[in-house]
Amino acid sequence: MAALTPERISPAAPIVPPVQTPFRRFVADFCESHIAIFGLGVFALILAAALLAPLISPQNPYDLNQLDIMDGRQPPMTKSMGSFTFWLGSDDQGRDMLSAIFYGLRTSLGVGVMSALGALAIGMAAGLTAAYFGGRIESLIMRIVDIQLSFPSILVALILLAVLGQGTWKIIIALICVQWAYYARTVRGTALVERRKEYMEAARCLALGHNRIVFRHLLPNCLPPLIVVVTVQVAHAIALEATLSFLGIGLPITEPSLGLLIANGFEYLLSGKYWISFFPGVALLVTIVSINLVGDQLRDVLNPRLQK
């Protein structure tokens, strides 16, 4: 955008190492935006908190032995009956909210990333098939995509969950079904452009097999816009899962994601005990915003129209 003017190139040019690989240039471009680096940093912290939850949490919130009912609904900064402080308060069971948020992030991120990867695989296959073979197959696949995208994501998820029932795998399946169409549309769009380029013609002239052309030649060149869609969709999946879990039709109570924690605090909100819902919500918000900040910068960096 504005940063693409010559002043962006001049200070970096002398320091750039002689060999400029695409990856190095990508990293350098990404680092142009301070807010994107900030987003990436925050997301790295969140990811670390989720992965290391058992090590850094003051308490294991799902080990009943460590819970004391006397600690229930303590406001933030209270000393617990045990040895630590409830920095963010505790819920009705006497769970430390901070620990519950760390464990909740694990579930939320896990579901978000898994569903995004699943949808990526299916959407990529569908989009590549449509673009590479064309004809009837293409119009059939793209018509299904169009129809599905004309319904809001929450409605599709609601229909599927009403039919499938509750459960971690079921919500992942529902999220995959909601998202695959976005990937399929993006991949097809890019692949249609790539298909007309000379290297594809060369590959066909060499009489390479369909598989080899699609996976070794076409697919790698379709990746940049896909990476952007993956980031945006991971954030979207996390938000959607939280919403569905909040409504009580998403994850089961045994896998408390951030959405369930917020739902759990809802009934105490009316009596002024805000922290049970407030802090998991902040965690959710920070997660989504940090992913979106990274996604915004990726979109600028990977957009071929903005390339120098």
Partner: protein
């Protein structure tokens, strides 16, 4: 145009057919239909009788056609919980949802349009930057959490607004709605704002982008050169041009507002169809689930069709029959 509508109607019929297959095999074939349509208290005799009455001794394909025929006649079973036909139950709840969704859309337009136009008119002012920050927040904040925070601030801490229910309804021109009583409006304020937050952000962005684009156009320069005051140029000339994308988006967003009303209705205990479906899923009131899914898909097909037709009427450059062929 006619060709387009016919093609879209055929496509819609196909979607409804696929939907009925999903619902039938999801709810009827996987679950036990006896448990779906007969209350759990029924004894063995009643179950056997019901099995024959419902035609469950017949092959699956025949059962599916029986289900389809009943659905076309508008018979989708009775609710276990309320013991009235599930279609009636949903239609009773529909006005509350429509009222909420339309209020939210209206709020989105009346707040979003002026804010967005201002942000586009003076893009470098502090106020414009604040407006854009609000719109970014509106995109990122999870709707249900904002709803909780609204309750916390306005119902619990300040005590200004009630947090649940629809309040008193008044009747005006034969329409019963919360919009016609003070109490009803007080109940409506928070849910409508909550549901509108995303629309406001969206319309701010559209109006700002439209404003910035149109300000550079020759017709604006010409109007200024003609000696028209800026006020008239902005509110008459530019305004008309900004409206085209916004009207389209409002049409498209009506559907998603109705769908997302599910979340807002659950938080504010708003007695609409969204709350009904969530309650029904939790109570396993399957006839209501089936009926809701059929009705909402039908509604969406109609809304999408109307939006496409409206779009071609508003913007004659779009030729539907050619675009989709």
């Amino acid at each position: 145009m006619t060709v387009f509508i016919i093609r879209r109607l055929m496509q819609s019929a196909l979607v409804l057919f696929v939907m009925s297959l999903i619902v039938f095999f999801g709810v009827y074939a996987i679950g036990d239909p006896i448990e779906i349509f007969i209350s759990p208290e029924a004894d063995q005799m009643e179950r056997e009788r019901a099995k024959i009455a419902l035609g469950l001794d017949k092959p699956v394909v025949e059962q599916y056609f029986a289900f389809l025929m009943a659905a076309i006649r508008g018979d989708l079973g009775r609710s276990f919980v309320f013991n009235i036909p599930s279609i009636t139950l949903i239609l009773q709840r529909m006005p509350a949802t429509l009222e909420l969704a339309l209020s939210a859309l209206a709020l989105g337009v009346f707040l979003g349009l002026p804010l967005g136009m201002y942000a586009g008119y003076r893009p470098h002012s502090v106020a414009a930057k604040a407006i854009m920050a609000i719109s970014i927040l509106g995109f990122s904040l999870p709707t249900f959490w904002v709803g909780l925070m609204l309750i916390m601030v306005f119902a619990v801490n300040l005590g200004w607004l009630p947090s649940t229910g629809r309040g008193e309804t008044g009747t005006f021109l034969g329409i019963t709605s919360s919009l016609f009583t003070i109490d009803g409006l007080r109940h409506l304020a928070m849910p409508a704002l909550n549901l509108a937050l995303f629309k406001i952000s969206l319309i701010i962005r559209l109006a700002r982008a439209g404003m910035r684009e149109n300000m550079l156009m020759d017709y604006v320069k010409f109007a200024r050169a003609k000696g028209l005051p800026m006020r008239r140029v902005v509110f008459v000339h530019i305004f008309k041009n900004i409206l085209i994308p916004i009207v389209t988006v409002i049409g498209l967003e009506l559907g998603s507002t109705i769908a997302f009303a599910v979340v807002t209705e659950s938080i504010f205990a708003w007695p609409g169809m969204g709350k009904l479906i969530i309650d029904s899923i939790q109570r396993l009131d399957r006839p209501v689930i089936v009926a809701y899914l059929c009705i909402i898909v039908f509604m969406f097909i109609i809304i999408n069709l109307l939006v496409d037709i409206l779009y071609s009427v508003l913007d004659p450059r779009v030729r539907l029959s050619e675009a989709k062929s």
